[in-house]
């Protein structure tokens, strides 16, 4: 009895049902309207292991892993630079209002600018030689850095002012205030920024490769698209989405590890 109850109450059941409904609709729709570019659900699922497991189906998986390596290289470097620059800058403008007043306009512009439109300019100036690594890295930085700046700033802002007052009362200087109050206090928001920034960085990576510089995963997507190979195309899209989810989940895990005092769980973005 209680087992039945527990199964009925678990979200896993409802998630599975939702997935089953989605898969059935997909399968039936594609079976009734045959199309070269829209594969059936089962074909797509069958293509995933072919792409992922080495030696399962010729050298296909080698192509995928190559593409993953190429794309993620730029992602890693670009994201590391974003964190290294964005967090300190965000913290500074959070602490010092005057800098912020003047930086606000630029941050606003950076927030609304569709970075995709900046890509051509970078391609023109930096070129696309050697897989266009510098171009891709700079773009990923442009994509990700705003989130890190804005969230780090918010992190400083939402620190209880009485904590800073308390520290001053007990004789803390600016350095101690940073080390003991401002940095730990803004860490949860910084981690939120890292998570959101990583999402933007991945988006940036995909956009660059899909729209302008055909390397890595984007190149592979376009190739399957051009070959009208629907099953592989869809399988690859699922793999890319899955990679994004795994990376974000890893940051969430890290978030919980480094800020154990934080009780409120944030909701996803």
């Amino acid at each position: 009895m209680s087992l039945v109850r527990r199964v009925l109450d678990s979200s896993a059941l409802y998630r599975l049902i939702a997935l089953a409904i989605f898969a059935t609709i997909w399968q039936l729709a594609t079976l009734s309207h045959k199309s070269m570019l829209i594969p059936t659900f089962t074909d797509t699922m069958a293509a995933i292991p072919k792409l992922l497991i080495p030696g399962y189906s010729g050298d296909e998986s080698a192509k995928l892993w190559d593409a993953l390596y190429q794309s993620n290289g730029a992602l890693l470097i670009g994201f590391a630079i974003s964190v290294a620059l964005g967090v300190p800058f965000g913290l500074l403008i959070g602490r010092f209002r005057t800098i912020e007043r003047f930086a606000n306009l630029y941050i606003s512009i950076l927030l609304v600018t569709p970075m995709a439109a900046v890509i051509p300019l970078l391609v023109m100036s930096l070129g696309v030689r050697d897989g266009a690594m510098p171009t891709r890295v700079i773009l990923i930085v442009l994509f990700a850095i705003v989130m890190l700046i804005v969230n780090s700033r918010a992190g400083i802002r939402q620190i209880d002012p009485s904590l800073i007052e308390m520290a001053r009362c007990f004789g803390a200087g600016e350095l101690s205030i940073w080390r003991r109050i401002l940095l730990p206090g803004s860490l949860p928001a910084i981690m939120t920024g890292v998570r959101l920034g990583l999402g933007r960085a991945i988006t940036g990576m995909v956009i660059i490769e899909l729209l302008f510089i055909a390397v890595g995963l984007g190149n592979l997507i376009q190739k399957y698209d051009a070959q009208l190979d629907g099953a592989r195309l869809y399988a690859l899209i699922i793999i890319v989405v899955f990679e994004a989810l795994v990376l974000i989940q890893a940051v969430r895990w890290l978030e919980r590890r480094v800020t154990p005092w934080r009780k409120t769980t944030s909701f996803g973005r």
């Binding site: 520290a167 009362c169 007990f170 004789g171 005092w261």
Partner: protein, 272 residues
């Protein structure tokens, strides 16, 4: 001894309106080993007065001397307990209590030993590894109190420390504070908006009035010490009731003054 002479403090008002006179010509002497409570309606400048003594906000005019030395900023001989507790949620109880000593550059071993002693004193023995978020409000303020006492201050500045607590917890902490104070006799300046608390704890009650913030009168509390062992009978005594009644009469008059001023202001504003 704290000597406050002719201290005024104004804060810039919001755009367009005039500055707010938080303190005007305040004279006050806080004696050594005295428990001084400061009472007044909101906006009377009592918290500003405390923050001036703490050195957190500079005063515009006058002098503030602690043991003869002018206050120019926060100093190790003054420690503060905050209404919002102001505990660092990422540090455990032990690290929080040791914070003041850490800022004074005391080495880790010494300061943790001292902190443990204070944690024991406020009745939190066994909780030193807990995070503040795992404690109740009353326990959190015990941590705040221990942290302030850990630096062995000459003056303890308390800003409505029990204002955020429920009645029963507050009573327990009042007893606890009196017990500790009777043992240490540290000079205390205690801000409160509760008449009962002011009378129950203080040797003298400073009554302040708003607009501009200034001292209305200072009352001597005749009840004998120690009080911590029999707070209930102190509270049911005729002296206690009389003191609270006196304070309330004054406060009620202030409140109706404020209301009248507000109505006058409103009438002026609505006139064409």
């Amino acid at each position: 001894m704290i000597e406050i002479k002719g201290v005024s403090k104004a804060f810039p008002g919001r755009k367009g309106s005039e500055p707010v006179q938080a303190l005007k010509d305040v004279d006050l002497i806080v004696r050594d080993n005295e428990f001084l409570t400061v009472l007044g309606p909101s906006g009377c400048g009592k918290t500003t007065l405390l923050r001036v003594i703490a050195g957190l906000v500079p005063h515009d005019t006058g002098t503030v001397l602690v043991d003869g030395k002018p206050v120019t900023g926060p100093g190790p001989e003054r420690a503060m307990v905050f209404q919002s507790f102001a505990l660092m949620p990422w540090d455990n109880v032990l690290t929080n209590v040791a914070f003041g000593l850490e800022m004074q550059g005391v080495d880790k071993k010494t300061r943790e030993l001292k902190a443990l002693e204070l944690i024991e004193m406020v009745g939190l023995g066994g909780f030193e590894k807990r995070l503040p978020g795992e404690l109740s409000g009353g326990m959190q303020q015990r941590v705040g109190l221990a942290r302030a006492l850990a630096v062995s201050p000459k003056v303890l500045l308390m800003d409505e420390p029990f204002g955020a607590l429920d009645e029963q917890t507050r009573r327990l902490l009042q007893e606890e504070l009196l017990r500790i104070w009777e043992a240490t006799r540290t000079t205390v300046v205690f801000i409160t908006h509760s008449m009962e608390e002011a009378v129950l704890l203080g040797d003298r009650v400073v009554l302040m009035r708003p607009r501009p913030g200034r001292i209305d009168q200072i009352l001597d509390i005749p009840m004998t010490r120690p009080r911590s062992t029999h707070l209930d009978s102190v509270e049911s005594s005729g002296e206690f009731t009389a003191m609270v009644g006196l304070l309330w009469n004054n406060l009620r008059a202030m409140h109706s003054d404020v209301r009248r001023a507000r109505q006058a202001g409103q009438a002026a504003a609505t006139k064409p």
